[in-house]
Structures are given as C-alpha cells and as structure tokens.
Subunit: 647 residues, 2 copies
C-alpha cells in the first residue's frame, strides 16, 4: 500500500463479448500461429489421445500372408468335393492335408481349411473329413484386414486404443503426432505465496496457477508455471518476454484491472499489442486480450471465477485450434427451470453458475453464489447459464438453457436438498458418495424458510428445517401446515442440537448470555432472515425484552453457522449465535443458549421414491449416527424417526 | 504344427451373456477386491482426473482475513454517512482512511471500502469521497469462499481443474487419491513378434498388447505388458503366477479357445478357478472368466475385434468399479436406420459395428465388415448395435439403437459416401480433415451399383461410380437414369483412370492380355458383382468372346482394388484387374487394358447443401489435383466438372 497514487489509470472500456471474440480470434488467425504444425514422433504405445500430424498409411498388410481362420487342416478344395457326413473322405496327412492352427500360413498348394469339428482323426497319418470346403473357405486372405499403403488414420485425428492396435498391425512402430501447445502462466501479486504455505496476515495462496494449469492440461495443452511475481513492472516484463520466447502462448494472471499496481496491460502493450482491454461480461470484465511475437497473450483477472471463465472464453478456443480438437469442444445444453428470480445488469453478459436436479418431471437450476471470488461456486456448479446483456435478468421459474458439464443420468440421480445448513448434511453428502456412488447430493443453504418455499415451488426433494413456533414452542409442524398446506409430506428427525454463543477461545469479552449482546463493546454477527437460528434469536430476544436495535451488528447477515464462526474467529465480530459443531470446527468457545430440533421435511412422493432410499437408509444407520455424534453437540437418538406425517 | 493331436480338447460351452456377467461379477464382488482402497498422496498439481480416496476438508479459510473487494480506501462506515456527490466528504489518509488494493487486509478499526470511482484525491494526506458506504460494503469477509473444516470434495470424486484450485485455496498441499488399478497383459502365441518387426512368413505382429494396454489406460488403469510368450504351458503358468502376485488383475490374450495349443483355460484352472469358458456372443465367444488369488483373471480371444469387445464387456466394468468411476461409463445411445439386411445366428448376441451419418433427416447406420479379425472395422466404427440372441437379424431400414462413441454434432457433419472405391477417395478423406476439421468423411466400398442403390434408399450423400454401358460405351448415365429415375442429381467427374492387369514385378507368367486368363497355369482374382471393374471385365470378355468359365478364379471375389493387388502380391493368384495406383502401391507391374471414367453421383439436394461444399471446393482445387496425379495412372483434367445434370 503505497501512499502516492497519482499514477492510477482508470481507463478500461468494456466492449461486448462477441465483438471482443471477433477482434481477438481474427488477430490470432492473422498471426499465423494456427497454421504451425509442430510434430513429434512417438512410439505407438505413447500416442493414446494424441492428434496425428500426418496421415498414417499402412506399411505392411495384415494378415501379411494367407492364413488359417480356424484350427483344422489345410487342404486343396478340389480334393474335398466328395466328403459327406455319412461317407467321410479319407485324406493323408502331409500329402493331401496339413494340420494348421488359427493364424498359421496356408501351405503352398492348398487353398482352404477344413475345421476341426469336421475332422475324424484315424491315426497320425490319416484323417477323414465329413464335409467339403469351397476355395478360400476358412482362409484369411493376405490384406483381408489391412492392405499395405492404405490409409489407416487421417491427419488431425485423435488416436484411440483401437487406432493404436491398427497402426501396430499395419507394421508401424512410431507415429507422428502434434506436439501439445505450451502455455506459460505468470501469476502476479505481492500478497501471493505458494500452495501449501502457512499463511501470515495479508498473504493469499496462489491457487490460480494450479487452477489455470489444470484447465490448460484438461484442454490438451502443457502448462509451465512461473514462480509468483510481485507487482513489479520490470520483473513482470522480463518474465513475460522470456515466456514469449519459449512457449506458444502466455497467460499473465491478475493485475489486469486499472489499479495502481495493475501492470499487465502496460507489459502486453510494451511487448506487442493490446487488442481488447475490458469486456462487458460478469464476472471477468477486466480481461486483456493481446498478441505479441505473433503469439496470443492474455491478461486474466485475479478472482478465480473470473480467471476460469475468461480462460474458457478466450484461451480454450485457441488451444482447441492448436490441438485441432474442434469437435470435442461443443458445449452440451440442458433445458431447466431457474428456481429464483435473478436480476442482472443491462449491458453485460452474465455467466451465472447453477446446480441442476430433477424434481418430479422438471429439471431445476438453483443459482450459486455470484461473487467472482467464490471458487466453491465453480466446484459445486453443474453448469452455467448466460444471461444476455440486453436482458435485465431471469424470472423465477422461467426456462433457461444451461451450458452443462454434467449429463441427464447424473441429473436424474441428484438429490436436491434446499434449506437450513447443518454439518450433518455435509456428512450425508460424503457418505452417500460411498454407499451409493451413482447418487449425487446437492445441498443449497437458504435458511429453513427458504427450504419450505423451495418445496412449495417443487424445486427440492427435501429441506433441512429448524423453525420454532413461538406460540407453541414446537418445531416445524405449524410452518409446514402453513407453507405446504396441500402437500403430503413426512417430517423426519435428523438431529437434536444445541445453539449457543460462539466466542474466541478463553472468552476474552466475558460474554455469558444474550443480554451481553447489548453492550457497546460487543460486536455481533447475525444470521439471515428466515433462518431457524434467526427465528430462535428473535424468540429469545423477545422473551428477554431485548430490542434488536440495541445489538451492534444485528443487521450483518451471514448464511451459515460456519461463516458466523469464521467471522468470530477472524476477529471482525466478538460473538454470534450458532451450533456447537461450528464452534468446535473453528476452535471457538461456546456458551449454550438453547436446544432445538433439526428435521428433514420430505414430500411423501419423494420419501417413497427410489432416489431417496439410500439417504433414508444412511440416516438410520448406526455407524453414521456415530460419525455425526463425533462432531459434538448433537443428540442423534431420534435420527431417521418420522415425527409427523402430513396427508 | 505338431503332428500329434491326440490331446486336443474341444470342450467349450457357450452360456448367454447376461448369465456369464452375473456369474463373473458376483465372484469378483465376493473376492473382496472391490472393497480395497489403495491410496496415494499426490501434490495437488498432479491430481487432475484422479479420484479422491478420502473426503477433502478445508484446512484454511479463504479469504483467511477480511479483505478489500475493490481498489479504494478502507474506512469505518460510520464516518462516511454524510458524503454526497454534490458535497464530497473530506477524509484524512492514515487517520480516517487507508489506501487498499483488492485483496489487501482491512486494517483494524475499519469495516468498509470506498471504491476508487467515488474518491477525489486532494493531496497525499487528503481525499474527498462522493458516496457513503454501509458496514462491510466492498469487504470480502474471512471465509466468504471457504471456511476451514468445511467439505471441499467428497470421497470417490473425480478431480477437476476448479477442484484443484479450490483445494489449493483451502490450504491443502497434497491430496489422497485412489491408486490406479494395475492390469498385467500376457500375450501368447508362437507366431507373435514385437511391434515394428520386419515380418517373416508366418509371423504376426503383436498388436493386441498395444490395443489392450490402450483400452486399460483409457479406462483409468495402468497396464504392464509382458513380452509375448510362445504357446508353452509352463512358461505361461509361471508368468501368470508372477503377474497375479504383482498386479491387481491379469489378462491372458489368445489361447482361450479349445485348440491343441490353447493353454489359457488350463493355466487359469491351475492358478484359481475358471468360472466361465465360452459365452454366446459374436465375436468373442471363446472368452474365459476366472478368479485367482482373489483377483480377476481373463482369457481373451486372439482376434483383435474379439479381444476388444470381450475386454469392454468383462474387463471395463471391473476397472470402473476399482476406479469408482461408475458415472462416466454410461453408454450413449443413438437411434438410427440400418442400411442393409443383416442375418445373425439365433442363440448368440451379436455386436455389429456400424458407421453413422445423417442423410436428409434420417440417421443411417451402415454395417462394417463383421469378421473378428478386421481391426479396421473398429477404427472406422461410430458405434455398434447389439443383435439379441433371440433374433435372426435386422431387416433393411429397420430402426436400431446404436451404442455410440460419437455425438449428434459429429454425425450431422459426416459426409456419407457409398459406392465404388478409388484411392482418390482416401485422399479426399484425409485432406478434408485438414481444410474442414469439423467434417468427417465416411467411405464404404460396396461397388458402383451398390452405391446407386444406397442413393436410391436415401442412405448416402454421394456415390463413387464407374459403370460402363455396353450398348453405348458411355459411363454411368444410363445406370443413373435406370436406378434413380425420380432423383434430381448431378454427375461430377472425379478422375479418368486406366484399368489393367496387375502382375508380380517382372511379369513372371508372361501375361499380356485378357486372353491369357484362360491359360490353365494362370490363377485370377475377380471383383465382386456390381463393381464397375467387374462390369468392364465382363464387357471386354464378351467382346473377345472369352467364356467366364474358362477363367480359373473368376468366382473369387475381392471388394477393393487394393485387396486384388494384395492377392497378387501375396502370390495366391497370378493376376487381377485393377487400377494403376493400386498396382503401384503394392509394387506390382501393370498391363493396361482400358481407360475409364470414375464419377461421383450427387443428388442435387446434397450437392447444394452446406455439408458438401468443402468437398466440392476440394475436388476443384489445383493442389489437390496434383496430389491425386502423383498417385499415377490418373487423368485429373476433368476433376470437379459437372458431366450431366438430372432433373
């Protein structure tokens, strides 16, 4: 953080995506790099998945000689004419017939094979055959499979195992294949430290080089990762220059925006030409597209989701061209219904990550967090939907085309759980993968009320729920009656659990009850409206006549127990209400406030469906109960029991 | 070839496929091998595509501290309340505000960021801001993306590039992944020589070890290939024993039948148990399924198509289970119409290889050669259809479900050419791949008449044709009028070419004209009925009053020029009629007999379709003409010209 900022340059113009693609890919074509064909000669056994750089012509015929197609005796067909089952024809071995096994050459003077089933062996010198054979019967002719000089594989063809076998059979030893395009990745940022480092304050793990290298590798390139560089113009310039001399293409990651230490555009301009700086997409708009040394050079934004998306939009097509792998790169589209209204700014193409599941006969797409910094939204995504720049967003329930990285079978086998979060759900997700590998568990955390609404809109198979009715003191039942009045459903207990105030180890602020939240020196982190924890807090505050306005941080909303715990652990707040397992996970102290019941609400149709049976079996399993119990703070005695049945 | 065959054992019982699968996979489950979980710890960068052996939990939160989400100044939100655009609020740097770049930690005492766009810099000590900020605005909270201890990836999950990035961001350095299952391949056969050997008579290249290794690798296993063994019981036994001790599974290739030197079943019985010997499938019926040392051991048949199919049916499911990769192994089905009647024996499940293409609005499947020895049928196949054992075959035009290794886009982009063969078609196939990488060229060789019939049945986009009308001496036109009376079509010249008698180098039999074919010492190889070459031969023989019965080998039918040349080259015949390029390719001498025209027949709808344009451009291209000319014996002067237009 320098004190002088007079050199800041804020100029970055966002142009539409299609325009950016036109400009960049046209320049790449003109650079000539796509016409290069660098090849290497590899032993056949090392060519699986590689691309032929030349047509492959057969050097030998296969078979290379007329050979027996069956075990039996080689004969001349003329000598067999009179053989019948009732009157077997005698043939003398060595003179009229020769024993052959499958693959043996047909001896000179013979032109057919009598198969073993039609031979009666009299002695070592004599056999009888029970059927005649036609000329060339049971003979594989020279070249029956492959004739020398014929085309085995065209150029630009991706080599499969059977291709490898055919090339070997055609007498080849080595094949000419395209070399893999090489891509250098230069990550920049003073704050970056290598993967696996113990972090000091302000340091960030350089995870993008791993991400980008994985992407390049999965697209068929080879990635060279340079050590992270500080935000230093000269060092980035020197490194990029070196990279351009050595590799086919260069990615500079971060520093692509217009901040004071954003040198990427300057470096690219110095080495070649910046064709595009800024594209009207979200996330990823501060992307730089350039050409230097007749090679592509990209400045990709630093947030992981931006880096990944812009790499897919601008790096992958170039690698696809270099690997001639144009055919396999077609995206697959799945039609789905979006589960919630999504507003999106006019003027930008937004790429919204979603999870997919089939509830009833509809495929539903649930949006994931939209922040460019949320890499977990990529991990969880089943695909994304492009919201065009002339649209203001998507209406809830509207039909969308999802560019998907999954398939119909997997979507059919995904259990969609939307509602309150509990760590036991994470355990369910993991254990299911073991006991029922074909079944995926998608868990979205929108609070208890959000879960019931999702069931109402037929967007989930089940919902995690812990909603206290302040009038009855009972959990969930009155809410289900209110929100799902016409739905047959079962209420199944998952766990009993303790809610309490999470505080740093040793409780430095001496917090002992909800009353302490009103102290001016206590900063609180709340949960979002509609969450069971929020309902519980409001109920307790009302009982204790504590006005919410007296609590500093009452309006700061977090979406999971763990994120509240993280806020306490990080020191930005002093306490928050949550469950013991979250406090334990982040090594916090815990002041119990109340016990509550956390249930699963499952419409009866889904409860009885084949899809949910492995989950229902799992939550009734003793070993699984023990695993949940080990998290701490849980009462698993009622796990899997049906608490209420709504008809 | 030993002289004693008293030890031959012919006993091999074919049981139905589903029964064989039940018996074998049940035994594999009971062996316990599928429950083993061998894992290894790898740096994240080496885990792409590997399968997690443990759930992956976050070790660090990301971000690990509250950080600026924008470039700007960190402030406390309370101090910004009165800022407006018309009345910018002054803030002193270092006291009320601190410069931060994206990703910088929020300094203690601050809780929001004013973005750069809303800042007016007065001097190094003073700024003015034009808008207030809410608490936590433009701040990424600790754990916003990942909270330490949360589940990043479940176990048995295939690791993607974004997963790698997320694990790195979560503070991990190495990941526990399943080791790849190891499979030993032992090929047996006295006649086998290593890949790349110069062949002596009777020797066969061991291409199956390359094929099987490629298949195992593509399914996620690691293959160890032993050197080929001779048919020697003791040596095979010793090697298999060693392999069972070292690897997770063992394939013995060939010797699985019941011939005198077929030791595979005996070896497996000695080491463990033969569960199945013989399955009612075609190809591949003499397969052996066994268990030894609680490990799977297979005896796969020696023909490459049999080896490949039985590996897919019996080896792949076991590797899929060991790699927990059950989801990605779903076959994809494509509905198509079969282009010809296929008879199939009752009692056997037949797996018929086909190529696929879309002609008009129908997807058509053209059967490939059915022999178990034809590896090129696998190379060319777009998939296969299973003809069930209770069926006698498929009627021409009937709807079938093809288990496909291609996709709809690729099928849409396949040009289907059925008809006579010419080497120029091979060149078209290869060059198209270069000029129009998205377009595939499928060329099936059924003779000129077969091509016209395929056009009639709407099964091809174009047909290669060289049919002489004996009455007019003109090529193709009268045949098109007869066979395609109601079709708008264009007749386009491909080449003029010379047909002649192909003879071994030096012409040892002194063959000089068709008259020599009647000599008793001359063996001839003919082309199949309906081929243009056959029509030409019959026309010439008729002119010369030579009876076909006087020609030895008139009934031996080959399907391409190259296979006739191969028969001459191999010495099983003395001569055959064909084109110069085929003779040149196999180093034969050539006695010209007649010139002929070889055209493409293209229905006008296809001629005008977008799909065919790259092909039409190619055959009008001078460089391409030169490549064809270089084959020898061609007249390319009319190439691409329209000879007739049928309306």
């Amino acid at each position: 953080m320098s004190s002088s900022h007079s050199s800041r340059h804020y100029y970055l113009s966002d142009i539409p995506l299609d325009q950016a693609q036109d400009i960049f890919f046209k320049a790449i074509k003109e650079s000539g790099i796509l016409n290069q064909c660098n090849e290497e000669l590899l032993p056949i056994s090392e060519t699986l998945g590689r691309i032929t750089s030349q047509p492959i012509w057969a050097e030998e015929s296969s078979p290379a000689f007329d050979s027996a197609a069956m075990d039996g005796v080689a004969v001349h067909s003329d000598t067999t004419v009179n053989a019948t089952e009732t009157n077997p024809l005698p043939l003398s071995i060595g003179c009229q017939a020769m024993w052959v096994d499958t693959g043996d050459p047909i001896p000179v003077g013979y032109n057919a094979v009598v198969m073993i089933e039609n031979i009666i062996q009299v002695n070592d010198e004599l056999i009888r055959i029970t059927a005649p054979v036609a000329p060339w019967q049971h003979v594989r002719s020279l070249g029956e499979d492959i004739v020398a000089t014929e085309l085995i594989l065209p150029q630009n063809h991706e080599i499969t195992p059977v291709d490898q076998g055919a090339c070997a059979a055609a007498g080849l030893n080595k094949l000419a294949v395209l070399t893999k395009p090489t891509v250098a990745v230069i990550v920049t940022g003073n704050e970056l430290v290598p993967v696996g480092s113990k972090l000091k304050l302000g340091e960030i793990i350089d995870s993008n080089s791993i991400l980008l290298s994985g992407l390049v590798t999965s697209w068929g390139g080879v990635c060279h990762i340079f050590d992270p560089l500080p935000d230093d113009y000269d060092r980035i310039l020197t490194c990029a220059k070196l990279a351009l001399n050595t590799y086919d293409a260069v990615i500079i990651n971060a520093g692509s925006s217009a901040g004071k230490e954003d040198y990427t555009a300057m470096v690219i301009a110095e080495l070649g030409e910046v064709l595009v700086h800024g594209v009207a997409i979200r996330p990823g708009h501060p992307v730089i597209l350039g050409v230097a040394n007749n090679k592509p050079i990209w400045g990709l934004p630093g947030y992981p989701v931006s880096a990944s998306l812009t790499a897919e939009l601008f790096v992958k097509p170039v690698i696809d061209s270099l690997t001639r792998r144009t055919q396999t790169s077609e995206p697959s589209y799945i039609t789905a219904h979006i589960t919630q209204k999504v507003s999106s700014p006019m003027g930008e193409d937004e790429f919204l990550r979603v999870t997919l599941g089939k509830v009833g006969d509809r495929i539903v797409a649930t949006p994931l967090q939209r922040g460019a910094g949320i890499i977990m939204s990529l991990v969880k995504a089943d695909g994304y939907v492009k919201i065009p720049r002339y649209s203001e967003g998507l209406d809830s329930g509207s039909e969308i085309n999802v560019i998907s990285n999954t398939n119909a079978t997997r979507i059919d086998n995904t259990i969609v759980c939307i509602g309150s979060h509990d760590l036991a759900l994470d355990l369910i997700g993991n254990y299911l993968k073991d006991v029922a590998p074909l079944i995926a568990f998608s868990s979205a955390h929108v609070g208890s009320l959000g879960g019931l609404r999702a069931l109402q809109r037929l967007e989930a198979h089940l919902a995690g729920c812990h909603l206290l009715d302040p009038d009855t003191g009972e959990y969930n039942i009155s809410y289900i009656e209110h929100y799902l009045p016409n739905t047959r459903a079962k209420l199944v207990n998952l766990v009993g659990r303790v809610q309490g105030l999470m505080v740093p180890r040793g409780n430095p602020n001496n917090i002992h009850s909800l009353q302490d939240l009103t102290r001016t020196d206590v900063r609180f982190a709340n949960r979002q409206r509609g969450s069971g924890t929020r309902v519980l807090l409001d109920y307790k505050l009302h009982q204790m006549r504590i006005p919410t306005s007296s609590i500093k941080g009452y309006s700061r909303e977090e979406y999971t127990h763990l994120s509240v715990a993280a806020a306490v652990s990080g020191g930005s707040v002093d306490t928050g209400l949550g469950i013991l397992s979250a406090a334990t996970a982040l090594n916090l102290d815990f002041i119990p406030v109340a016990s509550e019941r956390y249930d699963l609400v499952i419409p009866t149709d889904h409860y009885e469906s084949e899809l949910l049976q492995p989950l229902l079996t799992l939550i009734s399993d003793k070993t699984f109960h023990e695993s949940v119990n080990a998290l701490g703070g849980y009462d698993v005695s009622g796990m899997g029991h049906i608490i209420a049945d709504f008809n």
